[in-house]
Structure formats: structure tokens, C-alpha cells
Symmetry: C3
Subunit: 358 residues, 3 copies
């Protein structure tokens, strides 16, 4: 069966692992990247290796020229109807590193949509001019719908979901995993660890995707620390249960910190408030990391944050070597370059260059 | 006589064929592309051939590298004060295919215009930094005025009109002609055909430009189907009369469809309403193509639409092989690449590569 | 001592010449370009020479390919939170000439800032993805603060100030000096000249920076012609006094014009009005140059303007060969390319190519 054998209605209703198989190319790499669940342990390791190779190759001008020659014949559309400088610039840089030309629609006011065109037609328009669409949207499931739609057109091109609605932000999860891999590689790998998630766990799509990917690693204990109103959703807990993953819920950050190998902080996602100001009525003062809280963390633990931050991590913490969030952000550029290269089947060529020509 | 021998006032008043001669380079190719009437049959055929060659060359990475090397030393300014994702991205892609770097001003809010600068000075500014200006504006005649102005400056660079006011959108006409050429090439060429225009013929600049270009082909019958309030302008009919072109007017789409070799649908251009909501008082329900209407069309007829569409063509029609509007949109990218290459005198180099190196 | 040995508070309080030394690379070229005072006579001459070489090399396609190969492995971020098409496009073009890829944040509405991120974090984000930040802001001292902040991070990358607040716009001053150098090179160099500044001298940061750079040249007489309310600030006069520079103040343009080697016109900077409309109550009708005023200028004098202009220079004046403001604007692109090349240490490579390969 292929994706084109399903109606949109039937495809949308399939279980995630079936969808993942349908979305894979013959070498298992995803054609469309839509949700974190598409990536198994083997693929995560492969992407991490590739990202590190690209990072290393990019250190020299000769290496950069090699990388830029790989996809210089391709063009990518960055369709960001939900604003995000960070994810946008990270993908833009990843494209530039691999030599892709880019076009962009970032602001719906500059688009044709005001002329009453459907989103389906807009995306199909982009597919006429470009070889890949990287899209971000407030609308849940839109990337998936567009991927199905393109796969059924006479110009199927890959889509990468750069964040859709509150549910999925798969490349953020990839960069988080990659950051954890790198943080722990000096002392073993990503197994038998405790990861503490803190903040707005109800609405942060980042932590949902990361929590899912962590299930691919042996014996990861997940701890969710949040105000009761912002605690992780029941559906996520059910998913963890069904996979036999150990987890704990709580609202006492200071008690959880000494147990953590990694702390994953998030900000309050008040742009999703159903009533303006709703979030401000929740007391979040206890869900903050300053120099004091850092002193409770182990010497070899790491502190992550998807950024942007507000006040949940003090600026003073930035100089602590355990604060890896700036490196985490730069990791995003490398893992996205790895994903794009893989999507177009250039992973092997990069491995070869790394082994033989560097 | 050259364009610099005229004041703006005198130049603007010249007949179109005189202007066309003044705008041509020594090889006849336009220096500035301002209106559809500049293109005669020979030039349309040359551009179509070149577009097809570029499309073919672009299929391989080697070919793309050749194309990108042609104009890598040039930079183009995309000045779109009237928003349009579609035309913008099409030109952007055409530039990228030929290796031009690009800059853009799409939103007047981000421009210096708020500081009280005249449009003339803005365009002259762009000419300081770029080697070509591709401009789109709501203001009738602006592209022509800017072209005259640049030709009289000490840095004359070519302008391509990407749509100005309600009157001219010459590259849309080029892509429409190219699509008709390709649609009919299997069974002869673009002569002795019936083209049925449908929709808002009063305000759609696309159909005005296409109607003009069709006069270059022998024995094309033009049929205009629209609500009376949106019927084609008297000036267009006078122009058809003066060239001895056969045409018909009507408002019965179902009667016209069986006679058509090509149907050119357009949407209601309500952004040009003089009173908001004006268009909604016109009954346009009969000017719609669905699966039923397709059944009235000949098996070898084609259905075009400049896009974006609203409801005037049902989504179900997209899968009909006679619906060529998505291909038409991609044709726009290739014909624009052909036009830009021609403007810079690189047409011959592409022909050579196509003949000898492909 | 290095910049990292100071707290921000201590660094900000240092005298400009100390800051300049701290900001210089081992070859004396600035690492960060923050204020006009960083550039001494020798550096200004070197940049001017380099700009002219780049301009000459860029005339051929082979030369453009050489230039584009220099920094093709680098990426620059254009962070323009204060809108400016002109400066933006000039820097964009300079980057493209040298082969840098670029990203941009031009409109704060499309940035992450709405999520409550600090500017410091935004700039640090950009530094994660790019190799240089070119920034323009309404906020006085922001570029300097960001430069200090980046120099103290684990990813120090150069910043170029493309205009900050009312105080500094160093690359505008560089292009003004370069234009004066070129204007006078036929008849000696930039010494023993009278430069007349006209217009809004209180708020135009351009003239402040240029006035400072002119102190590097021997025996330049500076004349400031403005309505009393918009006359040059006391701090500037104190600075001129302390360097023993001759200057005059006045409000009679027609009297000053015959004495000028160069006239530097500026527009009323009403975007800095503390009350809307404040500037309109000042009579500026005498601070205008038309054909009549040109007749008062010497045959070999030159007329500059940083642009955009409003009505302070009549359009008719554009055709006078002494009106060099359009060339001045294009000079901006070349001098910025020279500055970027120098920042990355590629000045010598360009000199070599110019001497040996052209």
C-alpha cells in the first residue's frame, strides 16, 4: 500500500506506525517529515551521526563548498504562516549550508490568501516552483493534510513539518534528542537517564514530541513538573503507559532537580490561552531556574530549553557549563541540515566525504 | 530615435508599436518588458522554444549548474508593492534557476517610503544596487514611467512589468500563450482555434493581455462569456475590430463550452470594486465549471485559469487531464526564466547548450 | 586588555579611542564596526582603495565570480528592527557581491519578540546561525551592547552597526568620506576643503558621524547651516573645539554656498519628533537647493545627500553633474563590501587579485 491508495479521511485515521511506513522512502528515510513518531532509534542515531559530520565538514571553506554543492540544484519553500524567527532562521541556514535556494512566505498579509485562495491551492502553488516545502502553521494537522495532498498530485515533493498547531514539532524533538545524545556521549549514551520536564507541559508541543522520541531509548525515566493546570495531557500518559515507560508527575521542582540527568525547561505558552490573560492567573513562580536551583543539580546534569525564554531561566545561568540551551539551538541547524540531506538521499555522500575526503 | 529622445509626456503618448520598437534591443528582444503588445509571433515562438529548452536542461543537476552559471554575476530587485505570492515566487524561482541573486521589497511598511520619498527615487535607488527591476504595482502606467525614467538616468537597467494597475500583466500573457502552444503542439499549432474567456472580463488584466497576444496567430476566434456588468471593455472590442479578429460576446457558458478549444476561466476581481461588496450583487453562479460543465467540453479541449481560484472551478475538476492550470502556473516559471535570459542576451547560449551539450 | 576583561558597564564608559583599540583585530581592522570614531585616516584610505578595487573587479563576470567565491562559506544576518530599504538593500547587495548567504529580520511583527524574548537573546539566537550580524535599530547604544555581549559569549561573531538610535551610523559616514575622496581625487585629495552641512543637523546621525571622520583630514573647514532649532548639538561643537577644527554656524544657505567644496544636504528627521508635527512648525523653506541655488555653487563643487530626499533638493538638480548623491548611494554598496571583506580578513586577497589577475 502507498499513501496514494488512501483517501485523506482514511489516511488521517491510520495509526502512526502505519503512517510512518507509508511516509518512508525505500531506504527508510522519511519522504515527508510530519511527526516525531516517524523516527525510530536507528534513524535518530543516523541523523545524529550525519549532523555531527556536517558540523565537522562545515568548519573549513573547502568543506562548506562541498556541502553547498550537494543540493545547489534544489529550491526550498519556507511557508511560515505562524511567525517564528528562530525555527525559520534555523531552517534557512540549514538550506544555505546545503546550497538550496529558498523562497519564503512568512506573513499572511503578503500572500495571495487575501484573494480567497484555499490553503490547499497555496501549497500546491508552492509545489509548482519548489522542490521541498518546509511549513509552520497554527493549524493542527495541516502539514499532514498537505503532505497527503501533494503525494496525490502530479508533482509530489517532500514536506517538512516545522510546527503545526499544538501537537507536533518533530524537528524540535530531533534537535532535543541530538543535544541529549551529545551531552551524554562522554559518559555512555542515552539510556538509564532521568529527564525532568518543567513548565507548561499542557500546551508545549516541544515536550510532547521529545517525550515520544525518548521512548526509543532504554530505561529513560520521565518526570513532569508543572502547575496542576499546566500538567502533561492524559493522552501522553496513556501513550507512556502503553509503552511501559516509567514516569512521575509533580509540582516540586526543587525536589526533582537532584534526580535529573537532564532538565528540560519550557516557557508558558500563553499565545494558546483561550481567554487573554488566562495564564497570568496561574502561579508559576516555583517553576524557575536561577543560580540557586542550579546548585541543586548534579555536576554532570544538563539544562535544556527550546527557547525563546522569558524569565523561567535567569540570564546568570547562561554562564554555567551545564546550561546547554544555546548549543541546543545551534544543534537545530545541524540536525535540520542532516534531515534535509537525508530527505533528498544525500546522507551516504556526506558519510563518504567525511570518511575519505576530510 | 531612441527612448531618451522623448520627454515622458511624449513617450507616454506614442502608439504601442512605436514604443515597442523603442524598447527593443538590437536583436529585437525587449530591453524593458512593459506590455503584451511588444511581443510579435516570432518573439513568442522564440520564448516558447527557449522556455522548453530551459525546462529540459533543468532536469539534471549538471544542467541546473549550467543554468545557474549564466547570470550568477547579476542581481535582480523584486519590487512588489502590490502583494502577490504567486507571481513573486514564480519570478524568484526564475531568477534562482538562472543564478541571479535577488533582493525584494514586498511590503511598503518595511520600505523607506514612509519617510516621504517619491516612487521615482525609490526605483532609482533599486537601480543603484541591482541589474534588473521586476516590479508589480496597483498604479497604472508606473512600470512604463519607471522604465522611461531609468533609460534617461546614467544607470539604465531593464524593467520587467510584473503587473501594473488593471491594464497590463505581460508575463502572465506570455505564460498563457506558452501553455496554449504546448497544449496544441501534439495536434498542430496555435491557429484556427476558439478560445472562450469566462468570468470578470471587465477587470481581469490577464485576459486583456492574452486577447492581444492571440491576435498574432492566424484565425483565432475569441468568445467572451461574462455577466453583462463584467463583460470585456469596449476598447478591447475596438482593438479586435481594427485587427479584423472574429469575436463573440455572450453570457451562456454551457452553450459556449462545446465550441471551445481552450476555456480561460477567471475569478471575480473584487479588489478593484469601487464600492466594497459591489461584486457580490452580481449573479456569477452561471460562470462556474464543475464536473458537469467539463462533460460539455471536447475531449481534446483544455481548461486554463491564471489562479488563484476561488469557487469558479470545483476542486474535483483538478484531476481531469484537460485541466491544465497547475501546469500553466509552472509554465510561468519557465517562460519568465526565458524572458530574463533573453533580456540579458543569453538566449543563444542556452540554444547552443541544448543542441550540443545536453 | 581585551573587551572581555570589562563588564558592560565599564566598557560602555570607556573613551572612544580606548574602545576602538579594544574592537580592533591584530591588523587594526575593526572586528565590530560600531562608531565612526573607530576609523583613522589610514583605515579610511585603505577602505576607499579596496572599494574602488572591488568596483573595478566587479565589472566582469570573471571578476564577479572571484568576488563571490571569497565569502561563499559565510552567512550574514541582517537584523533591521528600524525599517530602511536603502541601507538594507545596500548591505544585502554588498553581501551578495562577496558571496555571503543572508538571512533577515526586518519587521518585528514576524519575529519571536512577541513571545517576550529579550533583544539580547534574539541577537544571541542570530549568532547561533550566522557568521556576522548587520543590525539597525532605533535604540541608542544597542549595537555596542550586543557587540560586547557577543564578545563575551562562546560564539563571538562580528557586528556591523547599520544605524543605532540618533547617534551613530558609521557605514553612512564611510560612504560619505569615500564619495568625497572620489569627488576630489581629480584635483588633489581631501584636505583644505570647506564642507557645508545643511538641514536637520540636530537629529541627523549621518552628519554627526561624517563630521567626526572629517577631523581625520588636514584643514577641513566645517560649516553648519540650519534653522536655530535644528542646529548641530553642543557636544559636537565641543568635540570639534577639542580637536582644533575650524567651524562656522549659520542659517544663511545662499551666503554659504559659494564657499563650499562640498554641500551635504539632509532632510528633516521628523520621525524623531517628540510631539507629532513638531517639525512642521519650523520654517525650513530657506534650506532647499534648486536650480537657482546650484548657480551659486562653484563649478567644481559637489552636492551630497544621504537620501531619501523629500523636497529639500529639486528633482531638476539631478541632472547637474555636481549632484553626486546617486553615485554616493552606489558608493555605499562598494564601501560596505570593502568593510565586510576587511572584517573577515580578505582585503589583502582582493588587493592581490586586483594587481595580478585583473
Amino acid at each position: 500500500m502507498r499513501i496514494t491508495d488512501y483517501s485523506w479521511h482514511d489516511f488521517a485515521a491510520l495509526p502512526l506506525d502505519t503512517k510512518s511506513r507509508l511516509l518512508a522512502q525505500s531506504d527508510g528515510a522519511p519522504f515527508h517529515t510530519l511527526f516525531a513518531q516517524q523516527f525510530n532509534r536507528e534513524m535518530l542515531d543516523e541523523l545524529g551521526t550525519l549532523a555531527t559530520e556536517i558540523r565537522t565538514i562545515a568548519k573549513s571553506k573547502t568543506g562548506m563548498k562541498f556541502l553547498q554543492s550537494l543540493l545547489c540544484h534544489k529550491r526550498a519553500m519556507l511557508y511560515f504562516s505562524q511567525p517564528s524567527s528562530r525555527t525559520f532562521l534555523s531552517f534557512l541556514s540549514a538550506c544555505q549550508i546545503l546550497g538550496l535556494s529558498t523562497g519564503e512566505v512568512r506573513d499572511s498579509a503578503t500572500s495571495s490568501e487575501f484573494k480567497g485562495e484555499s490553503r490547499e491551492d497555496s501549497v500546491r502553488t508552492f509545489s509548482s516552483y519548489f522542490d521541498m516545502i518546509i511549513m509552520r502553521s497554527r493549524q493542527k494537522g495541516l502539514a499532514e493534510n498537505m503532505a497527503w495532498s501533494l503525494s496525490n498530485s502530479d508533482r509530489p515533493i517532500p514536506i517538512i513539518n516545522a510546527g503545526s498547531g499544538q501537537d507536533q514539532h518533530p524537528t524540535q524533538a530531533l534537535l532535543d534528542i541530538y543535544t541529549l545524545q551529545r551531552s551524554f556521549e562522554r559518559r555512555g549514551d542515552l539510556r538509564d537517564r532521568t529527564v525532568v520536564f518543567v513548565g507548561d507541559l499542557a500546551r508545549g508541543r516541544t515536550i510532547r514530541s521529545l517525550s515520544v522520541l525518548l521512548m526509543a531509548y532504554p530505561n529513560i525515566r520521565q518526570v513532569f513538573i508543572a502547575p496542576p493546570q499546566l500538567q502533561i495531557g492524559e493522552d501522553m500518559l496513556a501513550s507512556l503507559d502503553s509503552h511501559g515507560i516509567k514516569y512521575e508527575l509533580g509540582d516540586d521542582l526543587r525536589a526533582a532537580l537532584p534526580t535529573a540527568d537532564a532538565v528540560y525547561m519550557t516557557r508558558i505558552q500563553d499565545e494558546w490561552d483561550s481567554v487573554v490573560g488566562e495564564s497570568t492567573r496561574i502561579d508559576t513562580t516555583q517553576f524557575h531556574i536561577g543560580v540557586d536551583e542550579m546548585s541543586l543539580m548534579r555536576p554532570d546534569a544538563v539544562l535544556l530549553h527550546p527557547l525563546p525564554r522569558r524569565t523561567e531561566i535567569s540570564v546568570e545561568v547562561d554562564h554555567d557549563p551545564r546550561a546547554v540551551y544555546w548549543r541546543q539551538m545551534r544543534n537545530g541547524m545541524w540536525i535540520r541540515a542532516a534531515l534535509i540531506a537525508t530527505t533528498f538521499g544525500f546522507g551516504r555522500r556526506i558519510h563518504e566525504y567525511f570518511r575519505e575526503d576530510l
